[in-house]
């Protein structure tokens, strides 16, 4: 991990309120694991504003602009404008300076080769799943993405998943794209067909809770990527903790999202009926 002082290569609105930012990050791709995250700030933020955490969407390389120049390595984030920080980021242009700390945290474990891989994304929660899909495809796995959103505007980058070889199933709450209804309905069906599947999920807390209950009922393994408010991203502030397995008021079990996560085995978390483990930060694409 490193604190990059670098520039924005591009920053576009890809769907209402959803942005995609590409940042110049030499040496980043070799280190980044699927499911890891970065902490970003820009000079346009007040010098007093905290960095914002974002899942790594993908990494790549631009061909050299001219013979003799090295290719330009980049990383991308997808994010939704939910507050002041993401608003400021959305106003950045090519060449604007950003600071990026990362890659941070623990990513997804790729699981057992040969078992069906079901990726479940809710809205901006699809972010950490792209590199996971790529890595699994590279290993010769059959990968399916179940992508859910409130409306068609919340369904992002699905064609990119398809291009990388992932089979995709889209559902929207209002039926404006793909199948109508919740993504968990699709998951239930897929788990019926693939009883030995391994599930990887990221999305809003209610979705994750439903997915966790379903996977527990089907006795299949589940890894989830969580979001939390964070100040430091490196395990120092202890602000981003979630409840671990066996948590109770008398014996609290807290795990740092940034250090122990953001990807957890669902079995290691406390999925109490009233108390979902994550601090929902409204889907800013943040961890």
């Amino acid at each position: 991990m490193k604190n990059y002082k670098t520039i924005v290569l591009s920053n576009h609105e890809i769907s209402p309120d959803y942005f995609r930012m590409r940042i110049l990050t030499p040496g980043f791709a070799a280190k980044a694991q699927p499911g890891q995250f970065v902490m970003i700030r820009t000079e346009l933020m007040l010098p007093t504003m905290l960095r914002r955490p974002f899942g790594i969407f993908r990494v790549g390389c631009l061909p050299a602009e001219c013979d003799g120049l090295p290719p330009r390595e980049y990383m991308e984030i997808l994010y939704k404008v939910v507050g002041q920080g993401t608003k400021i980021l959305s106003e950045l242009h090519q060449g604007d300076r950003v600071e990026l700390l990362g890659p941070l945290g623990n990513g997804y474990d790729l699981g057992t080769p040969g078992k069906a891989k079901l990726l479940v994304g809710g809205g901006i929660g699809l972010v950490p799943l792209f590199m996971l899909g790529e890595a699994l495809i590279k290993r010769g796995e059959k990968v399916r993405l179940l992508m859910g959103g409130r409306t068609r505007d919340d369904i992002l980058a699905v064609t990119e998943f398809e291009r990388s070889g992932v089979e995709t199933y889209v559902s929207t709450d209002d039926g404006s794209l793909g199948e109508g209804g919740l993504v968990t309905k699709v998951l239930e069906r897929k788990l019926g067909k693939h009883p030995d599947a391994e599930v990887f999920a990221c999305g809003p807390t209610p979705m994750l809770t439903a997915v966790a209950n379903m996977c527990a009922a089907h006795k299949v393994s589940l890894q989830v990527s969580l979001e939390a408010h964070m100040a430091c991203g490196v395990g120092a502030c202890l602000g981003c903790v979630v409840k671990g397995k066996g948590h109770s008021d008398s014996h609290p079990q807290y795990l740092c999202t940034c250090k122990a996560g953001p990807v957890f085995n669902a079995a290691d978390l406390d999925w109490g009926m009233t108390a979902a483990p994550g601090n929902d930060c409204a889907g800013g694409g943040c961890k």
């Binding site: 939390a228 100040a231 490196v234 502030c237």
Partner: protein
């Protein structure tokens, strides 16, 4: 093409060294407790040896799990936190964190707290046997659970009592960290000086509250939290100024320092050293930038020693 001849005058680098409570520090910059973990969290980003001192996360006799979430909320020019003093406990600190300090020569200041006088005394005794810990910083912003929850640091008698007890139990320099949540901080400052403190650090966070207007709920689960960051700096500078006037022991200034000029404000009103907190979250290298900025300030001002700045306030 023009050729430039660089002027390279052989000038001695100005000295940033300061002395606080008998500790010789290579520069006056150290992290504020709780914003730098145990040090190891930030080791990948810079050489810990560059710091004037390293201040640990607050330690207690037994491990503490901390508060429910959400624990932090950003506010205008600052942040509220109610982490709940989560820490591994003094024994795990000694066995798993202290070995890291053998590889660095920066003095380590262990911050600790207790919920009873007895707990304070026991932790102090345990720290005596840890040679890697050079000095301690006493957090007295905690409620005394045995005396109706009165916060030690808000009552001059209770503050003096705990400081005297720790002073007696401890064989290392003792820095006492003061809470700003009092009517007159100089009363507490004088009380802890008389009780045997070797230095004072101030200010701890200011109690605050923030509300999510949509849900009508406090933004942090603990309802109230400690406000830190640049929002509190003018309050902190004022209080450090007052404390410096009130006591003879050295004062370490804390409160919203983001850059070298912020640190200089505290030094000019008489702080012998400074602690940097929230800035570490925003920029893991903030303290290095501040140290370099202090040196540059001395060069720009034609000064040779940071001690020429300390207490140089013009009134």
């Amino acid at each position: 093409m023009s050729s430039h001849k660089e002027k390279t005058m052989p000038v001695a680098r100005p000295s940033l060294a300061v002395e606080v409570a008998g500790l010789k520090l290579k520069n006056p910059v150290m992290p504020a407790s709780g914003t730098f973990g145990y040090g190891e969290e930030y080791a990948p980003y810079f050489d810990l040896n560059r710091l004037g001192a390293l201040v640990t996360k607050g330690l207690s006799l037994h491990a503490k799990a901390g508060n429910p979430t959400p624990r932090i909320a950003e506010t205008t020019s600052g942040m509220l936190n109610a982490i709940g003093l989560q820490n591994v406990g003094i024994d795990a600190f000694v066995s798993s964190k202290v070995p890291v300090y053998r590889g660095i020569h920066t003095p380590v200041i262990a911050n600790f707290f207790g919920n009873t006088l007895e707990e304070y005394g026991e932790v102090a005794k345990k720290l005596n046997d840890v040679p890697e810990v050079t000095a301690v910083e006493l957090n007295i912003s905690c409620p005394n659970v045995k005396q109706g929850g009165i916060v030690f640091g808000t009552d001059p008698v209770a503050a003096a009592q705990v400081v005297a007890l720790v002073r007696k139990a401890l064989n290392k320099p003792l820095i006492v960290k003061l809470t700003p949540n009092v009517t007159d901080i100089t009363v507490i400052a004088r009380a802890v000086e008389e009780a045997g403190a070797d230095a004072i650090s101030c200010i701890n966070t200011i109690t605050g509250m923030a509300i999510d207007v949509r849900t009508r709920k406090p933004k942090i689960a603990n309802r109230t939290g400690g406000l830190s960051g640049p929002a509190i700096r003018p309050v902190a500078v004022r209080m450090v100024h007052q404390v410096v006037q009130a006591v003879k022991i050295p004062v370490i200034g804390i409160g919203g320092i983001m850059c070298a000029n912020d640190a200089l404000e505290f030094l000019i009103v008489g702080a012998r050293a400074v602690q940097v907190g929230t800035a570490n979250f925003i920029d893991p290298q903030a303290m290095l930038t501040i140290i370099d900025g202090l040196e540059q300030f001395l060069i720009d001002e034609g000064l040779t020693d940071i001690n020429q700045v300390i207490g140089s306030l013009q009134l």
